[in-house]
Every structure is written in C-alpha cells, then in structure tokens.
Symmetry: C2
Subunit: 149 residues, 2 copies
C-alpha cells in the first residue's frame, strides 16, 4: 500500500532534517524540496558547521535542487521548511521562482513577515501555505533554545 | 607612493569584478569585501555559470569571506557592491553582521528598498553608504541589457 504523500508526509521529512540539525547542535530548522512527489533536496541549518551565517536550510536545499535539476529555476517544485523563512531565504526563494512554499512554525523574531513588507516577497506565481505541523517545529526550536540557557 | 585606499578605490575593484561578469555574459554586478584595507573576497554574479538563481556577487563574496576569516560574522569588514542589494542579499548581509556596506547604483527593479520595508534590513550596527561610482555601475548594467535586446 502506498503511503499518502501529502503536505504532512513531506513536512515530516523536513522535520527529520530539523532533528538532524538539533543533534548536530545547530538551530533546528530543516527543509526538503519535492518535485513530482520525489524529494530532490534535503538540508538542515549548518551555520555552525560551515561557519557561514548564511548557511540556512532553505539556501542549502535550493543550491542542492538547482544542481540536481541542472536548472536555475524551480517552477514545478515545492519547498517544505519547518520554520517561516527569514528575509534572505524569502529573497532566495523569490529568485528560484519555486512553485510552492509550505512552512511550519512562524518565526516572530527572524521571519520575513516581521519586516512589514509592502510587497509579496516571493515570485507572484509562488503559492504559500503556512502552519503545517507548526507545533512540532516550534517544539523543536523551544527545546533547542531551552537547552542553551 | 601609496595609493589612497578610499571608497572610490575599492569600488573600482568591485567594478572590475562587474566587468568580468559582463565578459562572461552574466548580469554585470561585482562585489569585494575588505578588512583592514585588504581585499579578503572578490566575486561577481555567476547565476548562468552555476545555473543557480541565488549565485549573486554578494552571496559568493560573503561565503568566500567567511571561509577566508574562518568566522561566521564579519563585524570589521566592508562590502563594496556595484548595485543596490536585492532582498536576499540584504538578508544575507544582515546575518553576516558586516560592519559596513557601500553600494553603487540603485536598483529600482530588484533592490531591497522597493519592498517598502518598515524596518532597516541590515544589522543595527551596519553602516550603509550609497551612490559610490553609481554612474559607472549603472552604465554597465544598461549596456548589458541593451546588448540583450
């Protein structure tokens, strides 16, 4: 019997990436990129490992997906990310022309929406879905920062 | 006699990068990162070469500088870029905590300021200077897009 590959299914895969980040002592954010029900990129935040403040899960996933597809745009792909993208990642997703973005928890501190943008930051054709498995993603974040105190 | 290493001097180095982009048939934007009057990173837009819509000059320069310094923040560095950063690059510069940003020409189409941000997108400690050798940078851009028509 085939597993139903819906948004919850794919967000669980992104959460698995976030858990890998947690285990590696990185801020636990995970992302995957899916096209035709196949995962073409998996990534988690690697700011500490790479000593690169821009090495967010979404950026690494995008670069991996561009390489996997040999294409500089991803109009038929969907990004699943456990946390609301920051301004940088929102901008990167704009350039990618990605077909759809699904994110989990909101990020009141660093999410793009805190900047009060007058304009939709993504490509006009990009569809946005919020709040999928948000509690799980937020719980991971809270546990991480609690462990740091 | 030492050459005076002022903003114009360093912006000329960024313009040289933009010219390399032009010759490589890439949108002609160049960037360099300077610390203690030394250039620690040079980059130009490589979207076509890398088939990566996020391979902007600033992003490549930042990644190079993080590697050069073995540090994930660049509070004592200055980025010189020939064109106003886009939203993605503004966000990346925020995360880098770079000390200063100097840009050349404004970018009415894709510059971060077109988004009507309510909040300064860079790190609060980052100093911003605009318009250095703006005409030269704008001329390169106009020549490039004219050649594409």
């Amino acid at each position: 019997m085939d597993v139903l590959k819906d948004d919850t299914y794919f967000m669980r895969k992104a959460l698995e990436q976030a858990e890998l980040a947690f285990e590696a002592d990185e801020v636990p954010v995970g992302a995957i990129i899916v096209q035709n029900d196949e995962i073409i990129a998996r990534a988690y935040n690697q700011v500490e490992l790479l000593k690169d403040a821009t090495a967010h899960a979404e950026i690494i996933a995008l670069t991996t997906a561009f390489a996997a597809m040999g294409a500089k745009y991803l109009p038929d792909a969907t990004l699943y990310v456990t946390l609301e993208p920051c301004l940088m990642c929102a901008g990167a997703l704009y350039w990618s022309k990605i077909g759809r973005i699904v994110y989990g928890a909101s990020d009141e501190k660093n999410g793009y929406s805190r900047y009060g943008l007058e304009q939709y930051p993504f490509h006009p054709k990009t569809i946005l879905t919020k709040g999928v498995l948000a509690d799980e993603a937020a719980f991971l974040m809270k546990s991480f920062f609690k462990s740091k105190r």
